[in-house]
Symmetry: C2
Subunit: 212 residues, 2 copies
């Protein structure tokens, strides 16, 4: 079944802890998003890992250079998965993957802002990442864009076991994504901006369960 | 005259403060590098700005999405310049530039890992950033690559007043870069990995001065 990854991009440490505590049995992966990494540094990843050691944690570093060094930093801090940009050089992506393999961790390659998606996914897939993430940037969502077309394209190229999808996904979009059975669906504001996080997460999880 | 930007990527807060204190009269711009941002978050930028309010500070966020939001975070923390990736969507680059204009701050677009450099520099230049940085990734420097060829290409497309150059630049490479009179040259390990930071920085500054 498709896993549900919760993207946390905003909020104080206390709010982040509250959300994780409340949702940890519903959510499969907790993502500490790029804005939070920028704000607080990897220390926040360590705090969440130490508070919730059983939670699978993704650090959204969006690595663009120094693949082994930066991936190592994330894993040292307690991340189970780290992100590298699909726009990065192959050497950077490979260095991060090698580092993750050495430590028994995982790498997600984020295809955000890559224009020739089919070609680049084919190249990146050969490097052997754990996941390749189809991702519509926040700044493109404002223009009404979503990840569905790219998901359709990429589904014809690589196994769904490697596909993650992100970019403003709400319940309606999740219904359209479900038939492609990606390994991971990443959802942020459709949970965090609701007053009742738990019900919102549960309803999304149910949509995924219906698709089995 | 070409400005000298010191890239700080490693070291404890105390070491970083010592370097900045020792070099602040030689260096034109102090960069808090991506690995340090990942490690410590923007709080480190605030600490350096508060300790050395007259130092011009660049936060190397390598923004890939949420251009206005993340640029704003950097400026709020005390950065004078923030970096956005040339690989990002135009909407993201423009959003960061708009935010910097609104606040009287600056944006440097980092062309790291962009393959069709001439074409992308032409596009990015139209968006009106303060600087466009030709940047050879650390992970490519290991294969012997340097920024000189791309600098030659880009010099024929845009004014040198907008060009910054980075990527493993040492004294020898600086001699080759100097004739192109870029606005900013970014140097890290050729200063920070020397035992005598001040002499290293002074010698590099002299090479730039000879080129006037």
């Amino acid at each position: 079944m498709t896993k549900l990854q919760l993207a946390l991009d905003f909020g104080s440490r206390e709010v982040i802890k509250s959300i994780v505590d409340e949702l940890k049995d519903i959510i499969d992966i907790v993502e500490i998003g790029t804005p939070l990494i920028i704000k607080e540094g990897l220390n926040l990843v360590s705090v969440i890992k130490n508070t919730f050691p059983n939670v699978k944690l993704l650090a959204d570093l969006k690595i663009m250079d120094a693949g082994d060094y930066e991936a190592n930093m994330a894993f040292e801090a307690g991340a189970d998965i780290v992100t590298v940009l699909g726009a990065a050089n192959d050497q950077t992506i490979s260095a991060a993957i090698n580092e993750s393999n050495r430590r028994g961790k995982q790498v997600m390659v984020d295809m955000i802002a890559v224009s020739d998606i089919s070609n680049r996914v084919t190249q990146v897939n050969r490097l052997g990442p754990d996941y390749i993430c189809i991702h519509t940037a926040t700044d493109l969502q404002k223009d009404g864009q979503n990840p569905l077309t790219e998901l359709q394209q990429v589904s014809q190229i690589i196994t769904n076991e490697r596909i993650a999808v992100a970019g403003g996904i709400d319940r309606q979009m999740l219904q359209l994504i479900r038939p492609f059975q990606p390994k991971i669906v990443i959802i942020g504001s459709s949970i965090t901006k609701k007053t009742d996080w738990k019900t919102a997460a549960f309803q999304l999880k149910q949509i995924l369960a219906e698709g089995r």
